[in-house]
């Protein structure tokens, strides 16, 4: 067996499980309604605001929060920090789930989803100028890559027993381990491409995007922010799951990860402000409108995140780590949300606020993600670190 990860075990249908399932059930009903009645009847989207909550939050923010697997892979395989390896697998799981949910959201959001299969297959029709095509193809492939990266966890579980499946799993595992190098490399290449392209996407909106956000640096800012958010998400998820599943928290390692965020977030922050100043747009930050407000909330979150990270002695406090990670996720998330929604200005007398079904479906998909996470870590060897009971013994 090639990993020190253990499954959590325990009953699956707990009370929180049932609550989350109920939330998802409501969302599922609304999803059906959306597919039958169309986008106009179920969402607040309009010709002025063709992209709303689902794109700005579920896809653009969601995939960045799901960059834990990407960030950890850079740390372990490029920067050669092997000691973080035990945390890679759970990061990959969160990424796989996050990207899968984002993919689901896209299917709900596009108006003609029954033609989506043409995107990967009609290669002779590919418009190679389209940043969205690149994002779509990369995200589709990355989803596959993530589940392959995770497959050893499923195979290890399958290999536990006797019988043909177990035997086959034992045979496949070592072969997979070898092939995984090129999969892991793909798992770093694809997010580098599509996370930066998520920034490039909005370049095409030109003057419709507020100048505090519209910049040729969008691809770089999106790339750097997703790495910071990825690390923060790993810290957040790991702190939370060690608490919920009563496992020994990897505080040392989490503190190390938090320290890794400092330069990334620092670079982002400097780039962001220098860019606004360099383009001579700083005055707009003092314009007393909702754009300036959005800009300052975003900036305040980054400052708060950096300040909390700078408090080195407290980085060993799990609660502090958790709160710090949350602030960074919020800041990065807001930067993306602003770029895709708040700072998008299609005209003077139009506005958008998500409808109840839009909110509910987003909530339901998050519930589904947590559900799937719980089921998978309970059933398969994902989390490292011993159960707390064993550690205290």
């Amino acid at each position: 067996m090639s990993s020190e990860a253990r499954r959590v075990g325990g009953p699956l249908t707990t009370r929180p499980f049932l609550t989350l399932a109920a939330i998802f059930a409501v969302a599922a009903a609304l999803i059906l309604w959306r597919l039958v009645a169309g986008l106009g009847a179920t969402t607040a989207l309009s010709d002025a605001y063709p992209w709303g909550l689902w794109i700005a939050f579920d896809v653009v923010t969601g995939t960045a929060l799901a960059c834990g697997g990407y960030a950890m892979a850079i740390l372990v395989y490029v920067l050669n920090k092997g000691r973080y390896h035990p945390m890679v697998r759970s990061a990959i799981l969160t990424s796989a789930l996050g990207y899968t949910i984002a993919g689901l959201s896209v299917v709900l959001d596009i108006g003609r989803p029954w033609l989506a299969w043409k995107i990967p297959l009609f290669f002779w029709k590919w418009n190679l100028h389209s940043a969205l095509l690149e994002v779509a193809l990369c995200i589709m492939s990355y989803m596959v890559v993530l589940w392959i990266e995770l497959s050893p966890a499923f195979l290890e579980r399958a290999a536990e027993g006797k019988g043909t499946i177990a035997g086959a799993s034992r045979k496949i595992l070592p072969i997979l381990e070898k092939a995984l190098i090129w999969i892991i490399a793909l798992g770093m290449l694809l997010p580098t491409m599509h996370q930066s392209s998520l920034g490039s996407l909005m370049l095409l909106t030109g003057p419709k995007l507020h100048p505090l956000w519209q910049t040729p640096l969008l691809p770089l800012l999106f790339l750097v922010s997703c790495i910071a958010m990825g690390f923060a998400a790993v810290v957040f998820e790991s702190a939370l799951s060690s608490h919920l599943f009563r496992r020994r928290p990897e505080t040392e390692m989490l503190a190390g990860l938090a320290r890794a965020v400092i330069p990334v977030l620092g670079v982002f922050f400097v780039l962001r402000l220098a860019d606004v100043a360099w383009r001579g747009q700083l005055a707009r930050a003092f314009a007393f409108d909702r754009y300036a407000l959005a800009f300052w909330v975003e900036t305040a979150l980054f400052v708060a995140g950096l300040a909390m990270l700078a408090n080195r002695s407290r980085l060993r406090d799990l609660g502090h780590l958790f709160r710090t990670a949350m602030i960074i996720m919020l800041g990065g998330g807001l930067y993306r949300f602003n770029t895709y929604l708040v700072a998008y200005r299609p005209g003077d007398d139009v506005s958008y606020f998500p409808s109840v079904p839009e909110f509910t479906i987003t909530l339901g998909l998050v519930a589904l993600e947590i559900l799937a996470y719980a089921v998978i870590v309970k059933s398969f060897p994902i989390l490292s670190g011993a159960p707390r009971a064993a550690a205290e013994r």
């Binding site: 039958v36 010709d47 995107i119 490399a185 290449l189 370049l203 691809p219």
Partner: protein, 319 residues
């Protein structure tokens, strides 16, 4: 033990420097030109009387249903703007003091270098014969990136339908069956019933059809022979033909006796809207060479660092 922050910083700095270097060396892409037979419209606000014959003709030519939901009792065709069933609309501009007035006709501008065709994944929106920006629903997934991208907010979506399409003016290309010929007044025209319907019915020739070159010549002639009639983008600017260079140029052109900014046209530079994005993307990707190179480097790094990463540790060899 602290994570080696310097090495992380170093890699980030290298990545940033590489990105900047790439952006610096990237050549601005070759700007697309309008084809010689590019068809378009010229709309002149000073001639329009707001009769909306064009709106009706557009409906008949394209089989779109009247938009009556805004009128009392739902009896008049009164679209508020372009929408999922309206490919052209006549709007009224009135200055706050009510003295200055102008009608304004909106429809797709058929940009020379359109943002929408750059956005569209499978080329459902594409410049086809005569530079007409055409729509093929069989390649459209309904992502609505074209709507996000178009600086004129032209493409509209059939929000009320479960199987929606994008709706926008395609210069009546479906009507054209015969070959265009040059008529007596020197304009390229289709036989009756086959060209842009809005231009065909206009009683004042406020909107006329022709090739882009013919329309530009006519617009210049009008500006020259009516000093003081036409305006620029702002009130005090010299007269201009909107669309000659704006956003890289458009095949639909406007002349106006009211500053264009009041008609809510966007203030675009001469740079095509997609240019920044395309320059950066092509710079970063260098064809596809950069991703392939990066993939090789990443593969090598994984190969080198994988053993150290404890992929095959002793059991319990964590600490």
């Amino acid at each position: 033990m602290s994570l080696d922050r310097r090495s992380l910083l170093r890699s980030l700095a290298t990545a940033g420097a590489a990105a900047v270097a790439v952006e610096g060396t990237a050549q601005a892409r070759v700007r697309p030109m309008a084809p010689a037979d590019a068809l378009g419209l010229l709309y002149d606000t000073s001639l329009c009387i707001g009769c909306k014959a064009c709106v009706v003709a557009c409906r008949e030519a394209n089989g779109t249903k009247p938009e009556t939901s805004n009128s009392p009792g739902g009896i008049w065709d009164a679209p508020m703007d372009l929408d999922g069933q309206t490919k052209t609309v006549i709007k009224l501009y009135k200055s706050p003091d009510g003295i200055q007035r102008s009608y304004f006709k909106a429809q797709c501008m058929h940009c020379v270098d359109p943002a929408c065709t750059n956005a569209c994944m499978l080329g459902a929106l594409k410049k086809k014969e005569h530079g007409i920006v055409s729509y093929d629903p069989s390649l459209c997934v309904g992502c609505r990136y074209c709507q996000m991208a178009c600086p004129f907010n032209v493409p509209k979506f059939e929000w009320a339908k479960a199987a929606p399409k994008i709706v926008k003016c395609e210069l009546c290309r479906e009507r054209a069956k015969g070959q265009p010929a040059v008529d007596g007044s020197g304009f390229t025209r289709y036989p009756k019933g086959q060209g842009p319907a809005c231009a065909e019915v206009c009683p004042r020739s406020a909107v006329i059809a022709g090739t882009r070159a013919e329309l530009l010549a006519e617009a210049r002639r009008r500006i020259a022979s009516h000093p003081g009639r036409y305006k620029g983008f702002r009130e005090d600017d010299p007269p201009k033909i909107f669309g000659e260079t704006d956003g890289g140029g458009t095949q639909v052109l406007y002349l106006s006796h009211v500053a264009f900014e009041k008609l809510r046209l966007p203030n675009l530079s001469d740079q095509p809207v997609p240019e920044v994005q395309q320059t950066i993307q092509h710079g970063i990707y260098q064809g596809f060479a950069a991703p392939i190179l990066l993939y090789g480097l990443l593969g090598a790094a994984v190969f080198r660092n994988r053993r150290a990463a404890g992929e095959k540790p002793e059991k319990g060899g964590e600490s």
